[in-house]
């Protein structure tokens, strides 16, 4: 309102009121304003009722709110009271509880005191009567008492009775005495080899608080027993094996027996230890640790005997010597190695180790290695269940197992195991390489077969080696053997396959250099015969098939090994899985190398078997006239046409390979042949000229050729024929203008798109002598 008044004043001051009209006008405006203000005032007044109603509502509510305030104050008071009450009650309960605790503690002390008296009286009597169980029971009761508490009790009751400290002293003395006595008795029992007493005192040790000593003494006793047994059996190893007809596994069986003995001791005594030594959770692992020392010793003795009897060191030397000789030989004559595919058969030196001789030893070593692995696994499982029985805390359980892992890592048996694996790998590698060399060297081919003997044999050997590596139960060993298999294939085997392919395929000595090379090779290999070219040819084809077959075999090998590995190592860790996978992947790499070898061989066939023979046949095309009259056409069709001649020749060529080559190789050959034929024929066509009928004949002949090649193989070679068919179509046109119908792809959906450029199409059309250059040039392409 104030604002609008001010505004009015301002309004007036600005007005010109010099004339009546102007004043009237101002008045009118003021009247308008007034009406406006009145209207607004009325609107405000109309709300008065509503506001008054609300205000009266609020004052009513005020009274109720007061009541609420009073109530909540009351409630608050009550709560405070209740809380105080609860506080005082719980304080009483707490005091009560404390009192109860003290009472029970007191009771315990009284019990202890009573027991103390009983024990101190009983223990002396028991010792005198040599009732060790009873005496130890008293001592166990005494040791279970809180010694400090006992001391305090003694102080509390001081003066009135000194018997408490007397009793404590008596019992302490008795404990000492008992400990000595039991140790002595135990030793005596060991001396008399009295097993019953040994076990009796073994159970008493924990009662007198000598867990560790008990375990040590008892383990020592067992070690002594096992040692004697092992020594006796070691002497009789050969006889036992002979009796069981397992001479070739004599030492593996001995090792198994030793490990089984130790495993049995643990198995039998685990429940006893858990029952009597349960409160000391490391007891079993302590025992296992002590036993492991003895086990190390016995295995060491056995392996000494094994090495001596099986001449392991001598054989290792032989293997190493032969490896050195080979690396020396290959350095001296690289060329010889690439030509001849085997580095001299095993003969020559008498000292050379025959792979068959170590076959049995390898088997025995794998058994030994796997037994040790199983032994460790058994112990781990036992300690796992032991830890779970004695301890609730997972962390503490793990500690027990960690202690054992440390024992495993540091024990001599592990080291021996690693040595065994090392020997195994050395022998396995030698066995594999020598056997593969032998299989390659003694490769035989039977007529009618596509592959020779070496593929089957080589893969048999390799599979055998990998399988055997799995029986060691060692992932590291398996990986190493897979690596060795890969390097063996990559080296000797691929070289053997490649060598004859490198020399090429002699095709009737068309190429002089080729023929010369073939003879040279034969001379070097010292076996030149009249049918030598035939033999080289056969060898070439066979090795090509071998390489093809090998790619298949290697895939099978890889897949079956993957399955067998999964079966052998079901609980493999992710890292170990990666390790194995990565090694297996190497085999894939070798497969690619073999595929490359096949491709190389097929290329060789193309340059030496296909091209030289194909070219003269295709060139025949040039000798025919392609300008034919109706009469000449019928005469031509009556005689042997070019395509008939050509197909007969091709058929002859393909037939000579059809049964000899493996299916895949044959298909590859036909594919290459189709490419060569179309290229060469295209060139011949470009050198010729045609009239209408000549073009017609060509189109027919190209169709016939296409049908023949398509029928020759399961692969599609139609695609390779497309360009040639299109050339024939162009040359078979009635008029140049017809082409535009064909050329436009929209009109001809069934025809494959043109493989010819417009310029090529024009050049080809120009080969038709009856087409006018101007027409061709005018074509819109």
């Amino acid at each position: 309102m104030e604002m609008s008044k001010l505004n009015l004043n301002e309004m007036f001051s600005g007005w010109d009121i010099s004339t009546t009209e102007k004043v009237d006008e101002g008045l009118l405006r003021i009247a308008e304003k007034e009406a406006d203000v009145n209207a607004r005032l009325e609107a405000v007044l109309s709300k008065q009722c509503q506001i008054e109603a609300k205000l009266s509502g609020i004052s009513k509510a005020m009274t109720t709110l007061l009541a609420v305030e009073n109530d909540s104050n009351k409630l608050n008071m009550q709560i405070v009271n209740t809380a105080q009450l609860a506080e005082s009650v719980s304080a009483k309960v707490r005091r009560l509880d404390l009192a109860r605790c003290r009472a029970s503690e007191c009771q315990q002390r009284v019990h202890d005191l009573i027991d103390l008296q009983l024990c101190s009286q009983g223990v002396v009597k028991a010792i005198n009567e040599e009732d060790y169980e009873k005496g130890a029971g008293h001592i166990a009761r005494f040791l279970a008492m809180d010694q400090q508490l006992l001391q305090r009790t003694a102080d509390d009751v001081q003066g009135s009775i000194t018997s408490v400290s007397d009793a404590v002293r008596t019992l302490e003395d008795a404990t000492e005495k008992m400990r000595e006595l039991i140790s002595k008795r135990f030793d005596e029992a060991v001396q008399h080899d009295d097993l019953a007493s040994v076990e009796r005192f073994f159970k008493i040790f924990p009662l007198v608080g000598c867990h560790r000593i008990g375990i040590e003494k008892f383990s020592g006793y067992i070690c002594q027993k096992l040692s004697a047994k092992a020594q006796k059996e070691l002497r009789n190893t050969q006889d036992i094996a002979k009796a069981e007809r397992r001479l070739h596994l004599a030492y593996a069986d001995r090792l198994t027996a030793i490990l089984e003995n130790f495993a049995r001791v643990v198995e039998v005594n685990q429940p006893i230890i858990e029952a009597f030594y349960g409160q000391e959770s490391s007891s079993l692992v302590d025992m296992v640790t002590i036993l492991q020392r003895e086990c190390d010793l016995e295995v060491k003795n056995l392996l000494l005997e094994f090495n001596k009897n099986r001449q392991i060191q001598y054989r290792i030397k032989q293997v190493n010597d032969s490896a050195q000789r080979q690396s020396g030989a290959s350095m001296a004559g690289n060329s010889i190695q690439s030509l001849g595919h085997y580095r001299k058969p095993s003969g020559g030196s008498i000292d050379k180790l025959n792979p068959k001789d170590i076959d049995a030893i390898i088997a025995e070593i794998t058994v030994m290695h796997s037994r040790i692995e199983l032994y460790f696994r058994f112990m781990r499982r036992r300690l796992q269940t032991n830890a779970e029985t004695c301890l609730q805390d997972k962390e503490a359980q793990k500690q027990i197992l960690d202690v054992y892992e440390k024992v495993v890592k540091q024990c001599d048996l592990s080291r021996q195991m690693q040595e065994i694996l090392s020997t195994y790998l050395l022998f396995e590698k030698y066995f594999m390489e020598e056997s593969v060399m032998k299989a390659i060297g003694l490769d035989t081919y039977e007529a009618g077969q596509q592959c020779s003997s070496m593929v089957d044999e080589v893969f048999f050997i390799l599979r055998k080696s990998i399988r055997r590596s799995l029986t060691t139960q060692s992932i590291n060993g398996t990986c190493a053997v897979i690596n060795n298999v890969a390097s063996c294939l990559d080296g000797d085997f691929v070289t053997a396959l490649r060598a004859p392919l490198k020399n090429g395929y002699p095709s009737g000595y068309i190429d002089l250099a080729q023929a010369y090379n073939a003879i040279q090779t034969s001379l070097q290999q010292g076996k030149l015969h009249s049918s030598d070219a035939d033999r080289v040819r056969t060898n070439f084809i066979v090795q090509l098939n071998n390489a093809d077959m090998s790619t298949e075999y290697i895939e099978t090998l890889w897949q079956t090994m993957e399955q067998e590995i999964a079966g052998t190592f079901p609980n493999i860790s992710p890292v170990e899985r990666q390790l194995l996978d990565s090694c297996l992947t190497e085999l894939k790499t070798i497969r690619d190398a073999l595929k490359a070898t096949v491709d190389f061989g097929i290329q060789q066939l193309r340059s030496s078997a296909i091209r030289p023979r194909l070219n003269p046949w295709v060139d025949e095309f040039l000798n025919y006239s392609h300008h034919l009259t109706e009469e000449e056409l019928s005469a031509y069709e009556a005689g042997e046409t070019f395509v008939q001649y050509f197909i007969v020749q091709l058929d002859g060529l393909l037939n000579s390979f059809k049964n000899a080559l493996s299916a895949r190789n044959y298909d590859a050959l036909v594919s290459i042949l189709a490419t060569e034929v179309t290229n060469r024929l295209e060139r011949a066509i470009m050198k010729s000229t045609f009239n209408r009928l000549g073009g017609l004949v060509l189109d027919q002949e190209v169709r016939a050729l296409g049908t023949y090649l398509t029928g020759a193989t399961s692969w599609s070679v139609r695609d390779k024929m497309t360009r040639l068919s299109q050339i024939a179509t162009l040359l078979n046109l009635d008029k140049v203008s017809e082409l535009s119908e064909y050329w436009n792809p929209e009109n001809n959906s069934e025809m494959p798109s043109w493989r010819l450029t417009p310029n090529e199409a024009r050049t080809i059309l120009a080969l038709r002598s009856d087409f006018r250059m101007d027409d061709i040039k005018r074509l819109q392409l």
């Binding site: 690396s327 290959s330 350095m331 690289n334 890592k409 080291r415 690693q418 040595e419 694996l421 090392s422 790998l425 050395l426 590698k429 590291n476 060993g477 990986c479 190493a480 053997v481 690596n483 060795n484 890969a486 390097s487 990559d490 890292v575 990666q578 390790l579 990565s582 190497e586 790499t589």
Partner: protein, 225 residues
């Protein structure tokens, strides 16, 4: 996971206790675990690195140095793209064994394998083999040379990254020989320089003292036999 352009296998060899496992752990996990037990057989680690904008997967094979694992570790040489031969600069015998290791490498590894000599434990004060002696040995035997400390993480990353870069260079120049398509890549390599030049040039660029020393051009020449 399997998103990488190249996969290279790197094998570490050398006497027991020279710190092969520590080098690998430092590189793959950034740890220096003291009191490491002896490696059993071979250990296997993977790390994917990015070099020149390419993702490279490095398969690192950490071998046991002890004699009795030799027949396991030897089997890994053949497929290795790079071999790191490690010795301990504070332990003369580990250096004296290097010729034996080279003989073994020659016998089992691919003749074109990239060889790197590494003198580890530069953090120790009781150095027995001066840097120059190691450098000269590497030069004589066609190897790169680098001194590292797995404990102080010195030169460890660099060792593996430069191996990766070098191996990429080799892989590309190999492609370039067969396919014209890789010509552009070859150009990126600096005019198709093959083998050792690349790495040594890099070392010079990074301007570090000591550094990786190229031993010339012998990488692609066969070792004969």
């Amino acid at each position: 996971m399997e998103d990488y352009k190249f996969l290279f296998k790197i094998v570490l060899v050398g006497n027991a206790g020279v710190g092969k496992t520590c080098l690998v752990r430092r590189f793959t996990q950034g740890l220096f675990p003291p009191g490491q037990g002896a490696t059993i057989g071979v250990d296997f680690m993977i790390k994917t690195v990015e070099v020149e904008g390419e993702k490279i997967k490095l398969q690192i094979w950490d071998t046991a140095g002890q004699e009795r694992f030799r027949s396991i570790t030897q089997s890994y040489y053949r497929s290795a793209h790079a071999l790191i031969l490690v010795y301990d600069i504070s332990c003369q015998p580990t250096f004296d064994c290097l010729p034996d290791w080279l003989r073994e490498i020659q016998e089992y590894a691919n003749s074109k394998v990239l060889k790197i000599l590494v003198g580890n434990k530069t953090d120790r004060d009781d150095r027995e083999i001066p840097t120059q002696i190691g450098e000269e040995f590497a030069k004589q035997h066609d190897m790169y040379f680098l001194e590292t400390s797995a404990k102080e993480a010195e030169n460890v990353e660099r060792l593996f990254y430069e191996i990766a870069a070098e191996l990429i260079g080799q892989a590309r120049s190999k492609d370039g020989n067969s396919a014209a398509a890789a010509a552009a890549q070859r150009q990126a390599d600096g005019g198709g320089s093959i083998g050792l030049g690349n790495l040594s040039a890099k070392a010079a660029q990074s301007n570090c003292c000591g550094g990786l020393n190229s031993s010339g051009t012998g990488n692609n020449s066969s070792q004969g036999g």
